[in-house]
């Protein structure tokens, strides 16, 4: 069964909407820079330069929530704009997040530790499930609401879950994606893992040192054929394949040969009934950590039988937006199909010694893009792959 994509929305460091993100991608313009907040100022991050209050005003948000929820509302609203509510359609929302309302909780918790009078009401916003309920409320979606939390593959898994619910006939239309804001919790967490690059991250480069974190949200609207007949929406692309597999190797590290990644990509290709050579562009997970990029590169060589298609990591533009990355990069995958363009991997000079793979280094216009494969790999060995196809 075909899963049609009829809406997309994104907010990231490189732009507040799809158009701005696209423009930055074409101009090869990263937005990663020294952080503006007390807990980001020591690092290079992909930060969105709008306060929570500014977000509420600029995007006319009526629902209160954590920064994670607010960013989610912005991208989900853009995806769902011009969509109406229909009695006959079962519409749902599935969002991925890893931090939920931690941005609020960590401040309250610290204040209480410092002896300030606590405001326990604020913890209402904490649960990840609540962020999705708030996004759904803002969109007026009152049917099915679910939250996926599989670290950095959360949004990809939310998209997959939505597709499967449409396929099984339980939903007709579903808003899917993910959102995460920068928090002290995650900044310090990744610092404790010692996988930050103090400079601009260099995905797939031999001298890569680690990642830059980012924040943002990316959402799609998926519809069944039946739903399309009612909504009459224009189809942007199709979601033709998906897969989720477990690396089962280590709590945080990827297996040296990318076993989980291989499984995930192979199963997604099989489901899309595509041969590896039919993939025109791979939007890699490509966090720029020594471990991920080597493991993912080896998995590419395995899956594509040595003939690896053009690939890049757009995390060199946005930073690694964790649970949102699969949503944001799905939007980029669709932009690639719509505009026949391949987006580059910034900051690359030297290929990884063991694999010799060279990512796309400059914007490639007038490229025939029919099928795009997008990877999202999470902590805990949660590997996911999505395949987008031209309509």
């Amino acid at each position: 069964m075909d899963i049609f994509i009829t809406g997309y929305g994104v907010i990231s460091a490189i732009g507040k909407n799809v158009e701005e993100n696209f423009s930055s991608l074409i101009q090869e313009k990263t937005a990663i820079k020294q952080g503006l907040k007390s807990f980001t100022s020591k690092f290079k991050v992909g930060e969105i330069g709008l306060s929570n209050d500014a977000l509420k005003v600029e995007f006319d948000l009526k629902t209160d929530g954590s920064r994670t929820a607010l960013l989610g509302m912005v991208a989900a609203k853009e995806a769902f704009k011009n969509h109406s509510h229909f009695e006959a359609l079962r519409t749902g929302l599935i969002s991925g997040t890893s931090v939920g309302g931690m941005d609020i909780s960590e401040v309250e918790y610290r204040n209480e530790m410092a002896g300030e009078k606590p405001n326990y009401k604020k913890y209402f916003h904490h649960p990840s499930g609540t962020t999705s309920e708030q996004i759904a409320l803002e969109l007026g979606i009152t049917g099915f609401v679910n939250t996926i939390s599989t670290a950095c593959s959360s949004a990809a898994n939310a998209i997959m879950m939505g597709a499967r619910l449409i396929q099984s006939g339980q939903l007709d239309r579903v808003v899917v994606g993910g959102t995460d804001c920068l928090t002290q919790f995650t900044i310090y967490g990744f610092r404790s893992l010692m996988i930050f690059d103090d400079e601009w991250c260099k995905p797939f480069d031999n001298s890569r040192k680690g990642l830059n974190l980012g924040e943002g949200a990316g959402f799609l609207v998926l519809e069944s054929k039946k739903s399309l007949e009612i909504t009459g929406k224009e189809v942007l692309a199709k979601l033709s394949g998906w897969s989720n597999a477990s690396d089962a190797y280590h709590q945080t590290a990827s297996s040296p040969d990318g076993d989980g990644a291989i499984l995930s990509m192979k199963q997604a290709l099989k489901q899309a009934r595509l041969e590896p050579h039919e993939i025109n562009y791979v939007n890699a997970h490509g966090t720029a950590t020594p471990n991920n990029d080597l493991s993912e590169s080896k998995a590419f060589i395995n899956v594509f039988n040595g003939k690896v298609p053009p690939f890049s990591s757009t995390k060199s533009y946005t930073g690694h937006t964790l649970a949102a990355s699969g949503g944001i990069e799905s939007v980029f995958a669709i932009l690639s199909i719509q505009n026949s363009m391949l987006f580059p991997n910034l900051n690359h000079t030297t290929p990884i010694e063991e694999t010799g793979l060279i990512p796309i280094k400059n914007i490639q216009k007038n490229s025939e893009v029919t099928h795009v494969l997008s990877n999202s790999f999470g902590f805990g060995g949660n590997n996911s792959t999505l395949i987008f196809s031209k309509i």
Binding site: V145, T147, F185, S192, S246, Q251, F379
Partner: protein, 305 residues
């Protein structure tokens, strides 16, 4: 039907590996503690030391389910409302006290919701589909809906489980965020599910999640009507609601035994499952009503009755 081939619960009741979990039930009190099995049977001592209560109990329950079916699960679907709170709080303390120095990553690594399902895949060496759902008090329903989908998509055996843990901090949130008189507890329940008939022939017939329920009794009627079942065919209702408009003798409040955690309805399923076997009854309905008027409905059926 999605048959239950094994249930394993670790709760504040003596529930782990009991033939009938109803036999030894006592009403929950403030001083009730989590009744844990000997974790050394399930987890290597070196790992055990690092693991928080939620991870220990989930791994032990998952391994019991794996042992019962012997062949590998083809999917793992976990639900948790609040995730790994012990490690989350631990890391919050770390970042606020050891500014500037090298931080230990263990608490951070083990703070994410998917640590539970990820660790299970590691411990079971399982490379299959692996998902973590977190939808407040509807987290079991979400993980169950996913498990049912996995079965429908052709997966043979699916590991479905929920886990939530209490930390002292939660008590501070009463009565503002949590109900005033609640006893906050921990618990986990894991199920081995398959479309293949189990020995008990009891399984999940249907599941419904409703984000904004208007009237619980009306929503129950609608749910049953779609399944072409009358309310008087339901032998028992297991719920966390005290005010349901049904005859008292057919309603059991599971929270009186589990205490409050947001996936405790899974323990309600366990109680219902064992009761259906013992009494040879046909239908039990688990009614899970939460904050914000959300409602989860799960129907269990006994094919033998």
């Amino acid at each position: 039907m999605y048959y239950i081939h094994k249930i394993a619960s670790i709760t504040h009741q003596d529930s782990f590996n009991q033939t009938d979990v109803n036999d030894s039930l006592v009403e929950i009190t403030e001083d009730a503690v989590l009744i844990s099995p000997d974790y050394k049977k399930y987890i290597l001592p070196a790992s055990l030391r690092r693991l928080s209560p939620i991870l220990r109990m989930a791994v032990a329950a998952a391994k019991e389910c794996q042992e019962a079916i012997t062949i590998p699960f083809e999917a793992i679907s976990v639900g948790t409302a609040l995730g790994c709170l012990t490690d989350t709080e631990k890391f919050l303390n770390v970042i606020n006290t050891v500014e500037g120095e090298i931080l230990s990553p263990t608490a951070f690594i083990q703070s994410t919701h998917n640590t539970i399902s990820g660790l299970i895949s590691l411990e079971l060496k399982n490379h299959s589909y692996n998902m973590t759902h977190t939808q407040n008090n509807l987290s079991l329903e979400m993980a169950l809906i996913d498990s049912m989908l996995c079965c429908d998509e052709g997966k043979d055996f699916v590991l479905l489980g929920v886990a939530d843990e209490a930390i002292d901090f939660l008590n501070k949130l009463k009565p503002i965020v949590l109900p005033e008189n609640s006893i906050v507890t921990s618990g986990t329940t894991f199920f081995a599910l398959s479309k293949k008939k189990s020995k008990s022939e009891i399984g999940f017939k249907a599941c419904r999640s409703i984000i904004k329920a208007k009237d619980i009794e009306v929503d129950i009627d609608l749910f049953l009507r779609e399944l072409k079942i009358e309310i008087n065919e339901i032998d028992r209702i297991y719920t966390n609601q005290n005010s349901l408009d049904y005859p008292k003798e057919m309603v059991v409040n599971y929270e009186a035994y589990s205490g409050l955690y947001f996936t405790a309805n899974a323990f309600g399923v366990h109680l219902a499952h064992d009761w259906l076997i013992k009494e040879a009854k046909k239908y039990a309905l688990i009614v899970n009503s939460g904050c914000n008027n959300s409602l989860g409905l799960i129907l269990l059926k006994n094919d033998k009755a």
